[in-house]
């Protein structure tokens, strides 16, 4: 066989260093479900990127971050949720996330960055809610690690403790309005989606999250 023959010409060293296995752009993104697939440039989350979801406390940040997992979870990707103290399991299941492939680390007790780094090798998507304001260094190390591992990091930040570094993609909840009947029906979130590179065009969109079935849909 040619591959084993001793007469095979050797490749120059500088050429070998530049060779990479061929990957398609599609395999480097994780899919997003509706309505995000039509709102986010590229219709997916690029592997190795950092997404920041910023919202005032209690106004839908957690639901939004979780709704980014739905499609990947349905396709068998693993996800982890770090620092969310009391996850609402029923709401997560209603969103369409496969609970068998989600690891919860509710109380990382000050070691949130270390736990997140531990999990990066094992999961494809990682939601992190830092219990306090993240330091510049910790954020930098985590994002570097994410880029190297090809995971998607979703940071859940509050307005008073923003993520210290610019993100590849950011979701900013500016307004949340509940529609009610004899019970809570649906919540209309006004979300500002912005990013870097091809996602640079910022746009405000209204999404329904959760709707009457607990899912996300376009407003």
């Amino acid at each position: 066989m040619f591959a084993f023959s001793s007469t095979r010409p050797t490749l120059p060293n500088d050429l070998v260093a530049t060779l990479r296995p061929v990957t398609l752009a599609k395999s480097r993104t994780l899919p997003l479900g509706e309505p995000w697939s039509s709102l986010v440039p590229g219709a997916g989350l690029r592997r190795g990127s950092t997404v920041v979801v910023q919202a005032p406390p209690g106004l839908g940040g957690l639901s939004l971050a979780l709704s980014l997992l739905t499609e990947s979870s349905a396709r068998g990707h693993w996800a982890a949720v770090v620092g969310v103290d009391d996850p609402g399991v029923v709401a997560i299941a209603d969103l369409g996330i496969d609970l068998r492939r989600v690891l919860f680390v509710p109380r990382p007790r000050g070691a949130w960055a270390e736990s997140a780094a531990d999990l990066l090798d094992g999961v494809d998507l990682l939601i992190v809610r830092p219990p306090s304001r993240a330091s510049h260094g910790a954020a930098r190390r985590l994002m570097d690690r994410v880029r190297e591992r090809g995971t998607v990091l979703i940071v859940l930040a509050e307005s008073h403790a923003p993520w210290p570094l610019p993100a590849d993609l950011s979701f900013d909840i500016t307004q949340a309005q509940w529609a009610t009947s004899s019970r809570l029906d649906a919540r209309y979130l006004t979300v500002r989606v912005a990013g870097r590179g091809e996602a640079a065009r910022a746009g405000e969109h209204v999404v329904v999250l959760p709707n009457r079935r607990g899912r996300a849909e376009a407003g």
């Binding site: 005032p56 406390p57 209690g58 106004l59 839908g60 940040g61 957690l62 639901s63 979780l66 068998g76 990707h77 693993w78 982890a80 969310v84 103290d85 009391d86 996850p87 609402g88 399991v89 029923v90 709401a91 997560i92 299941a93 209603d94 609970l99 068998r100 492939r101 989600v102 690891l103 919860f104 680390v105 509710p106 109380r107 990382p108 007790r109 070691a111 270390e114 736990s115 531990d118 999990l119 990066l120 090798d121 094992g122 999961v123 494809d124 949340a176 309005q177 509940w178 009610t180 004899s182 019970r183 809570l184 029906d185 649906a186 919540r187 959760p210 709707n211 009457r212 079935r213 607990g214």
Partner: protein
């Protein structure tokens, strides 16, 4: 103490070398669970079930005894001995003697038993030398005198003899439930996250390794897996179990009428937080026996004196569960705060608790 029916099947108490005993035991447990879902496997050969609920359902205790006896005969072909008494200890002794005690007769029955039923030879012989021959005479001793003479296990015996504890700590076979799960293939060894065609993918192994790393850093119960089980309200339906523990067999498939429908709170507090609900004139709001609020809510007060205005509410939806044993009465209420947050509150034991945040 709860009135229990103990079912003693002599033929199933000795383990056969071919493992058939455990299989028969599991089959019988399944059959009894059909009659009463609260049937408990105690030890090989012994089951108990609470009698109050089933006797209402079947129309009397005699009917339950007949149904259970018939079920045991059908499944195993052996004649069971059935005993009814208060508490596991007396129920087992009664079952071995095939006795059905009338309500209130358990105390005198227990006092009349010989000391040997407590299962401790040293206590029995010492007491007999002191002229105490029955459980009742042992129970009349001061706890301090018993503690002087014997070790702390004898104190447990003494409390059982006095009727303060329902069961001896040697009565239950702690490994039995685990063995039953293994028998049914539900145990941790076979409990892996299966891929599409039942195989494990590379991703599952990577996730395993990552979970182990975090566990080593933070402790055994730091990594959790969630699952759903049956129930009406979000806090009952959610279960979080540590990674690596046997998964819960039950799946949330049965219909639950009266379920609180989606959307569900994205944060469900494992330990509800006590809050105060006030009306416009700053009076506490109470819920009447018929499930109405005394006044429409106007403000919510947290324990740290944070005050939030309530702009809208829905409910309350009363929930009376297990009236035959625990008698848990709750009512759920959705409120919308002026800041835009939606919360799920529950009224229980005449107080208000925050159980969920629609985050």
């Amino acid at each position: 103490m709860e009135r229990l029916l103990a079912i003693w099947v002599e033929a199933l108490c000795e383990e056969a070398p071919d493992g058939s005993t455990l299989r028969d035991y599991a089959a019988l447990l399944d059959a009894l669970t059909v009659l009463c879902p609260f049937t408990e496997p105690i030890r090989l050969g012994l089951f108990t079930l609470p009698l109050r609920g089933p006797s209402r359902f079947f129309g009397g205790e005699r009917a339950v005894l007949d149904a259970v006896g018939q079920s045991v005969r059908d499944v195993t072909g052996h004649e069971p001995s059935l005993g009814v008494a208060d508490g596991l200890f007396c129920a087992e002794v009664a079952a071995r003697q095939n006795l059905v005690l009338t309500p209130g007769a358990t105390d005198s029955f227990r006092r009349s038993l010989p000391l040997s039923v407590l299962g401790r030879k040293d206590v029995a012989t010492t007491c007999q030398r002191l002229g105490l021959h029955t459980v009742g005479s042992f129970a009349d001793l001061e706890p301090a005198r018993v503690a002087e003479r014997f070790n702390k296990h004898a104190l447990v015996l003494h409390r059982v003899a006095r009727g303060e504890l329902a069961e001896l700590d040697t009565q239950r076979d702690l490994k039995l439930i685990r063995r039953l799960r293994q028998l049914r293939g539900e145990d941790a060894a076979g409990d892996e996250q299966m891929g599409f065609f039942g195989q494990r993918g590379a991703g599952d192994d990577r996730a395993d390794a990552a979970a182990h790393r975090v566990r080593r850093r933070l402790g055994a119960d730091a990594v959790l897996l969630a699952s759903l089980r049956g129930g009406r309200v979000p806090e009952d339906r959610a279960t979080l179990v540590p990674w690596g523990s046997p998964s819960l067999a039950g799946r949330d498939v049965a219909p639950w009428p009266g379920q609180l429908r989606a959307p569900s709170p994205a944060t469900t507090l494992a330990h509800p937080v006590s809050v105060q609900l006030r009306d416009g004139a700053d009076h506490q709001i109470v819920m009447g026996a018929r499930g109405f609020l005394s006044e429409p809510p106007g403000a919510l007060l947290f324990s740290n004196q944070t005050r939030r205005d309530v702009v809208w509410h829905a409910g309350p939806w009363p929930l009376v569960e297990r009236w035959w044993s625990l008698n848990r009465r709750r009512a759920h209420l959705q409120v919308l705060l002026a800041t835009g947050e939606a919360l799920l509150l529950v009224a229980e034991a005449s107080r208000w608790w925050l159980v969920g945040i629609y985050d």
